[in-house]
């Protein structure tokens, strides 16, 4: 299945793009997708421990099971205000 992935703030600079699509197997967790992303975009691996992850408009934890069509966002700590 295909997952749409978006990078925000300086993570887009690290990845060299704002969005991409990644094909994963059924039963893939958010953590596994994150590992795939870090392999594909090694600069993002440097910020792996501080990465925030969301599916759609909600934060999700590492065990979240992805579904076809999910839109996943990876981004650094937020800084509003």
């Amino acid at each position: 299945m295909i997952i749409a992935v978006q990078f925000w703030s300086y993570f887009a600079d690290f990845a060299g793009c704002k969005k991409t699509e990644i094909e994963i197997e059924n039963g893939t967790t958010l953590a596994k997708l994150h590992e795939r992303v870090c392999e594909q975009f090694p600069k993002l691996a440097e910020a792996k421990n501080s990465t925030l992850k969301a599916v759609g408009v909600n934060y999700q934890d590492d065990e979240f099971m992805l579904s076809d069509g999910d839109e996943v966002s990876f981004f650094p700590p937020v800084q509003g205000g």
């Binding site: 703030s9 925030l52 934060y59 966002s73 937020v78 205000g81």
Partner: protein
């Protein structure tokens, strides 16, 4: 509880926001907060901050914060404006208003909203060096 959220590249017009204020019966407290871009970021002088947001998610996360406020305090209304794009030094990037019957819940809810926003609402800033 009435809520109003504006996320926009437009400058925050505090006078216009205050003019549109509606105070419900029995409300005795209005707490307003303006977050203004400082001229320094760490040790460096800056001219502006460029704000970026995951806007759809930001709106949802602000909604969750409004829900949490409503469950926790007897607040009558919350209005929030967050500016995106380039915000020059000395101009507000954030404006929050809370109205309630008494000051304690108005101050507490305002502080809570800002703290939660800084943890959960996907907005980022890029300072522009002087």
């Amino acid at each position: 509880m009435k809520t109003e959220l504006t996320i926009s590249i437009d400058a925050i017009d505090e006078a216009a926001l205050v003019k549109r204020r509606e105070i419900g019966d029995g409300m005795g407290a209005v707490v307003c907060f303006s977050g203004v871009v400082r001229g320094r970021e760490g040790d460096a002088s800056i001219t502006a901050i460029d704000y970026e947001a995951h806007e759809e998610m930001a709106r949802h996360q602000f909604g969750l914060i409004f829900d949490a406020i409503e469950q926790r305090w007897p607040v009558d209304s919350v209005r929030v404006v967050h500016r995106l794009g380039l915000v020059p030094v000395n101009e507000p990037s954030l404006w929050v208003e809370v109205t309630a019957a008494h000051r304690a819940e108005a101050f507490a809810a305002c502080q809570f909203l800002i703290e939660e926003m800084k943890q959960k609402v996907p907005i980022w800033k890029k300072p522009l060096p002087a």
